[in-house]
């Protein structure tokens, strides 16, 4: 079980996740937030202390750059090698509307893969 910082991108409202740009290995960050579109690319905090650091980093970036809004932590767990939020609401938020799988995050990831990104 871990925690990830989630937010909405101001310009288009799309759901984004925080990655510590300065330290992609997941170590202690130095305040350089990077917002990514896929949960798989987010940094997972293994304990509450790191989660609090990441949330502070995200909130500081949100306040300074104003590029994201509605910033908070969600719980995630690994399931068959993939990250998945533990709550239904956040799972739907991370992967897109279940009734239109052609439109949400999964479709976005598939299109990116197909394009070789």
């Amino acid at each position: 079980m871990g925690q990830v910082v989630i937010a909405s991108r101001l310009s288009d409202g799309l759901v984004v996740f925080l990655r510590d740009k300065a330290d992609p290995s997941g170590g202690a960050g130095n305040g350089r937030a990077d917002w990514v579109l896929q949960l798989a690319d987010a940094e997972v905090a293994d304990d509450d202390s790191r989660a609090a650091e990441l949330l502070a980093l995200g909130e500081a970036d949100g306040a300074a750059i104003q590029s994201v809004v509605d910033i908070y932590l969600i719980e995630v767990e690994e399931e068959t090698g993939q990250l998945r939020p533990t709550k239904a609401r956040e799972a739907i938020r991370c992967f897109g509307p279940t009734v239109r799988p052609d439109l949400g995050k999964l479709a976005l990831a598939e299109r990116a893969l197909a394009a070789g990104n």
Partner: protein, 557 residues
């Protein structure tokens, strides 16, 4: 239909320019989200689970073909190729970008549309009977009064910051197709009785106040049995002033007028309204006849041809084509003009989200409106579309065109014509998904013969207690709740939003998502087994009570 005058055009154009500047200031960081949020909401722009959502007002559910084509274009150009028609006769786009929203609003302004007052604690879009101006049972076209209310309530300075949002519905028929008893104000057009409630034969309004759904559902109460037309605005103003004064601002869950009315008492509330009204009845709010006539002139019926009431082409096709016969029986409604029909277009195909229409479907319906219905389209609060004026002899060709586009589902008013909110698939307030429950029910009851056998029935599904899916007034109401992070569903029985309005009662303990459809099927089976004669589900339920349904589902009454 109503067309903007120079003031309407200027007002909407100014609002687009104003919002464009506000968006620029937000994107540049000059406005914080806290400062910007109320500004975007005033323009119908919400931030939902996956993206922004823009709610576009469709005044009293009336569109012309040019407007529907524009909605289709916006869906294609700025969104993901579809829109969602709502229970308040509006349209929602689920994926607009903030930076492009001013352009969308400018596009809407070109066709006399906007998103003003589709959010916030103000008077929202006035809704009405989708068959207005066409229904055989209509006393008068209610859209004239909806338009007068729209003009009065738009940017009304006194009512822009009410304790809570405020919704008005008007019906022109005794058969309530606008759910007036579950609105903050419901108006029913009726004839005076000559015995104190209006002059005999005079047309006016019964005024119902304090209806609403949500976490505290109430049916509205009649506070004035008859109101003369000329007094409409002064009386509405008196109600709103009374509510504005008494309505609670300390607790948003107790701020709607339904709670105010309940806590004050209907009689006392009515007395206070009458007292206020006495002060303003003879003010400039009294509607002058020329002004009423000016608005009414926008709603003059189209020039119907003189036609025989029966159409050979329709009857011959129905005799040899059961699918067409089902469509006519379920989707076609009697028109006031001989030889014409009202054609409902179901947006509830088997297995797809209720109320959604693609850009291509919207374009097609716009074309069909031009070819078959004087360019007019209506949106229903049950999330379907209507072509209000179709010659009966042309129904077979209309049906073929709709069938080819997946728009000929013959289920209007039947079990799979489900009202359903966006639920947890889109909505940030939702506790559980509602659309998948709806699509699974429609798949279970996909067989047309079975649907026809079950007959008139209303299932309504909400993904949370806010009740946007009207579950309190469904014959079967389904409410999604969050139980320790898992989706769970409560069932209610016995609700109705029509002239026989009633609130449903909870059946018992709830069910997981994979149990709900089985439970619905059990409830339908009980009804089919117990019904007598032409009883609808609701009639049988009212006759036999909850016990047999409970026994079937839980094994005990």
């Amino acid at each position: 239909m109503y067309h903007y005058d120079e003031y309407d055009h200027a007002l909407v154009k100014d609002r687009v320019a104003q919002f464009r500047r506000q968006v620029e200031r937000r994107l540049s960081g000059d406005l914080t989200e806290e400062q910007f949020r109320p500004l975007r909401l005033m323009n119908g722009l919400y931030l939902q689970l996956h993206a922004y959502m823009l709610r576009v007002a469709i005044p009293y559910g009336t569109l012309d073909s040019r407007q529907l084509r524009k909605l289709a274009y916006i869906a294609r150009r700025y969104d993901k190729g579809y829109g969602h028609f709502t229970t308040r006769q509006n349209l929602q786009y689920n994926w607009p970008k903030l930076e492009e929203t001013p352009d969308i609003l400018a596009e809407l302004a070109e066709v006399e549309m906007h998103a003003i007052q589709t959010s916030g604690n103000c008077i929202r879009n006035t809704t009405s009977d989708q068959y207005a101006g066409a229904a055989a049972d209509e006393i008068e076209d209610p859209r004239i009064w909806c338009e007068i209310v729209r003009q009065w309530s738009t940017l009304h300075p006194e009512f822009s910051f009410l304790p809570r949002k405020f919704k008005v519905a008007i019906t022109g028929s005794e058969n309530d197709r606008a759910a007036v008893r579950v609105h903050d104000i419901g108006l029913i057009m009726k004839h005076g009785d000559g015995e104190g409630a209006g002059e005999a034969g005079e047309v006016g309004f019964e005024v119902i106040v304090g209806g609403g759904l949500g976490r505290t559902p109430f049916l509205g109460k009649t506070i004035r049995p008859f109101l003369a037309k000329e007094d409409l605005l002064s009386y509405l103003e008196a109600i709103l002033r009374t509510y504005n004064m008494l309505g609670r601002r300390d607790n948003k869950y107790k701020a709607r007028i339904k709670v105010t009315l309940h806590e004050t008492g209907a009689e006392e509330f009515a007395r206070l309204v009458e007292e206020e009204w006495a002060e303003i009845k003879e003010s400039s709010l009294k509607l002058p006849k020329p002004e009423m006539d000016r608005i009414a002139a926008h709603f003059v019926p189209p020039e119907f041809r003189a036609l025989e009431s029966r159409a050979t082409a329709e009857e011959e096709r129905a005799a040899g084509d059961p699918a067409f016969a089902s469509w006519v029986r379920n989707n076609i409604v009697e028109h006031k003009a001989s030889g014409y029909a009202i054609a409902n277009i179901s947006l509830k195909p088997v297995g797809l989200p209720p109320g959604d229409a693609t850009s291509e479907q919207m374009d097609l319906v716009a074309d069909l409106a031009d070819e078959y219905s004087f360019g007019e389209i209506r949106v229903t609060h049950t999330q379907n579309l209507v072509l209000p004026h179709v010659e009966r002899s042309r129904l077979p060709e209309l049906y073929d065109r709709l069938l080819a586009a997946g728009l000929a589902t013959a289920n209007v008013g039947l079990l799979s014509d489900i009202i359903c909110c966006p639920g947890l698939d889109y909505c940030t307030l939702a506790s559980a998904r509602s659309i998948p429950i709806s699509t699974q029910i429609s798949e279970r009851f996909a067989d047309q013969g079975r649907l026809d056998l079950v007959g008139q029935m209303q299932i309504k599904i909400s993904g949370c207690i806010n009740a946007c899916g009207h579950h309190h007034v469904g014959h079967i109401g389904i409410l999604g709740v969050d139980r320790k992070g898992e989706e769970h569903y409560q069932i209610q029985l016995g609700g109705s939003a029509s002239e026989d309005a009633s609130l449903g009662k909870i059946l018992g303990r709830g069910f997981s998502a994979d149990q709900v459809v089985d439970v619905v099927e059990q409830l339908v089976d009980v009804y089919v087994e117990l019904r007598e004669g032409d009883e609808r589900f609701i009639d049988t339920y009212r006759r036999v009570g909850q016990a047999p349904f409970k026994e079937k589902v839980y094994g005990t009454a």
